[in-house]
């Protein structure tokens, strides 16, 4: 833009040899100075909390009383003994599998549908992408109203069409609450994953398809033999993002169901929140649950990275 008038001096390379050393070391100091804000954030708000959560998970630490000394491994025992621990693990895993499978299938479908560019396709693409501009909390609040049995359009439409006689309870039973949430998540994220998959599809050369066509491959054969295998890196990226995100699900359930009905939709993060701030007020046990989640996710990430690397070539 408004670059100030700095005519390039030709003698850049002709810097005196003798000054090189001190210049370089002073430049190291300057480099450190520029990196200092990053360092401060990193130490204060990342490394200290990581160490703190380890320490908290090993300590008796009530919400309002603070650190009352080490009590390892009590918190871990208490964490696994929590009434909702295993149900929350089971629910989070179920939700993760269901969401990942459906979201990837839908996103891939959308990506194939709008693959080549043309005017109508880019319009449709934008329509798919708009929901991903919303925050997850906003989207959840929106669907909370959409799912309202009385005034929500889905319920009204079902009643108007005579499909059901009574107001439908989209969030009222464990099963319907799960599926209603999955629907919201697919709506919110499908466009974004479609975009990631489009990037992958773009990288597949047209020649390969052409060759398959000449060989007489049908649509389905082309899809299973060429598109899916060549799209593997993109599909893997989407899977990682979706699995990690779903394992840490919170906003959508906190807003749509608050973990209900009957605690059937309590996710692990919701459990951490409940143990720390609702009722039990035990930060030590909450930290222990956090550590278990952290460990599981780090393992998962390492495994996925390994799988990605190994599978690549």
């Amino acid at each position: 833009m408004t670059t100030t008038t700095t005519p390039t001096v030709p003698a850049v390379a002709a810097r005196p040899r003798g000054r090189r050393r001190p210049l370089r070391s002073s430049r190291a100091v300057v480099g450190w100075l520029y990196a200092t804000p990053t360092l401060v954030f990193l130490v204060l708000f990342f490394l200290v909390p990581v160490l703190l959560v380890v320490r908290m998970s090993l300590s008796d630490w009530p919400l309002f009383a603070g650190d009352r000394g080490l009590n390892a491994p009590d918190n871990y025992v208490a964490a696994v003994d929590l009434r909702l621990f295993w149900p929350a693990v089971a629910f989070t895993l179920t939700y993760t599998v269901v969401t990942t499978v459906i979201l990837l299938a839908v996103s891939l479908g959308l990506a194939l549908l709008v693959q080549e560019s043309s005017r109508w396709k880019s319009l449709v693409r934008t329509a798919f992408l708009v929901p991903s501009a919303l925050g997850l909390a906003s989207a959840s609040l929106l669907f909370y109203a959409l799912y309202s049995p009385q005034s929500g359009p889905f319920g009204q439409a079902l009643q108007g069409l005579g499909v059901v006689d009574e107001p439908v309870s989209f969030l009222g039973t464990p099963t319907s609450a799960l599926w209603s949430t999955v629907f919201l998540i697919v709506w919110r994220f499908a466009g974004f994953y479609m975009l990631l998959l489009l990037v992958g599809l773009q990288a597949i050369s047209g020649d390969v398809y052409e060759a398959a066509r000449i060989d007489g491959a049908g649509w389905w054969q082309t899809f299973t033999r060429i598109t899916v295998p060549l799209l593997r890196p993109s599909l893997a990226l989407c899977t990682i993002l979706c699995v990690t995100g779903s394992l840490l699900a919170f906003d959508q359930f906190y807003i749509l169901t608050k973990g209900g009905p009957d605690n059937s939709t309590v996710t692990i993060v919701q459990l951490v929140y409940n143990v720390a701030f609702q009722g039990q007020n035990d930060l030590g046990v909450a930290a222990a649950v956090s550590m278990i989640v952290l460990g599981a996710l780090v393992l998962l990430n390492v495994a996925q990275l390994k799988g990605l690397r190994g599978g690549d070539r």
Binding site: L42, F45, F46, A133, A137, G200, Y254
Partner: protein, 295 residues
């Protein structure tokens, strides 16, 4: 991989089959796809349109019947501390987060791309490691830490935490931006007597502007939309940002949910995001389609 025959005849065949003319056959074949895509587009847009319409319509779930108009927005505006307070909270947190993220990642990106110093790689790796540690598990210790620092219940504390979560993406992005700037640009500025800071401000800043815009946009969206961080870190109900206020409002009214006001809240929350997205989607989508493949 799965293809068996080598496509020796491809070029000729490709030339022949790629007729662009809208033959009747291809139009017919395309119609179902167009209808399907159009239908799906309506499905994706419907919730947003419905929210906008419902927010100004008389339904809403409360007993008093109001006509078409902004009654739902009035209800929203009058909720507890008032929507202006919550909006202000959101603007302060988002603004601070954007400024802090931009400053930190600009200086950090400059250091990581253009300087050599001991510990550089470790520091950069640790910044990326923030991604490995799940967000939610850090919030419990951060709650304790901010209490200890006297930053509990404060918008500044909230912005500091949100900035930390932005750092992996922001630092990575700014490092790449600086690395794509020709080295000579900085060197010539230095030779002309600028200090490194002068070179950064006068010569490099314009060159990394696209990166800064991306980082700023992501930081804004993340801070504006964040829900769980203020839920845990802010206990004073007057200090919460807008998403939390709207969610709280929904729960407060004696078991009767005011869907109209909720809808109005959703519209206020979503509007800046959707507008920003539509304005910047060109950059955003192109950035993804061209650059994101590396990796």
């Amino acid at each position: 991989m799965a293809t068996t025959t080598r496509p020796a005849r491809t070029p000729a065949a490709a030339g022949g089959s790629r007729d662009r003319g809208p033959s009747v056959g291809s139009l017919l074949a395309r119609t179902p796809a167009v209808v399907l895509a159009g239908g799906l587009a309506v499905v994706f847009l419907f919730p947003l349109v419905w929210a906008a319409v419902a927010s100004v319509s008389p339904q809403g779930g409360t007993a008093q019947s109001v006509g078409w108009g902004f009654a739902n927005y009035v209800t929203l505006a009058n909720y507890q501390a008032g929507i202006w307070q919550y909006l202000l909270n959101s603007v302060i947190v988002s603004g601070l987060t954007v400024v802090l993220t931009l400053t930190t990642s600009l200086l950090g990106g400059y250091a990581f791309a253009m300087f050599r110093f001991p510990g550089k790689d470790l520091l950069f790796l640790l910044t990326l490691a923030i991604l490995m540690v799940p967000y939610a598990t850090l919030l419990i210790p951060l709650y304790v830490l901010l209490n200890a620092l006297g930053l509990s219940n404060s918008l500044v504390g909230l912005a500091l935490v949100l900035t930390m979560f932005q750092l992996p993406f922001a630092t990575f992005m700014m490092r790449i931006s600086f690395e794509s700037v020709p080295r000579e640009l900085e060197e010539s500025a230095l030779v002309d007597g600028c200090g490194t800071f002068g070179a950064l401000r006068r010569v490099l800043l314009p060159a990394v502007k696209p990166g800064l815009i991306t980082v700023g946009l992501f930081a804004f969206l993340a801070a504006w939309n964040d829900f769980i961080t203020p839920l845990i870190l802010i206990s004073d109900s007057g200090k919460v940002p807008l998403p939390l206020a709207v969610a709280n409002m929904r729960q407060q009214v004696m078991g009767i949910v005011d869907y109209g006001a909720t809808e109005a809240g959703v519209v206020v929350l979503a509007l800046p995001c959707v507008v920003l997205f539509l304005l910047l989607q060109r950059h955003y989508v192109r950035g993804f389609m061209s650059g994101a493949l590396k990796g």
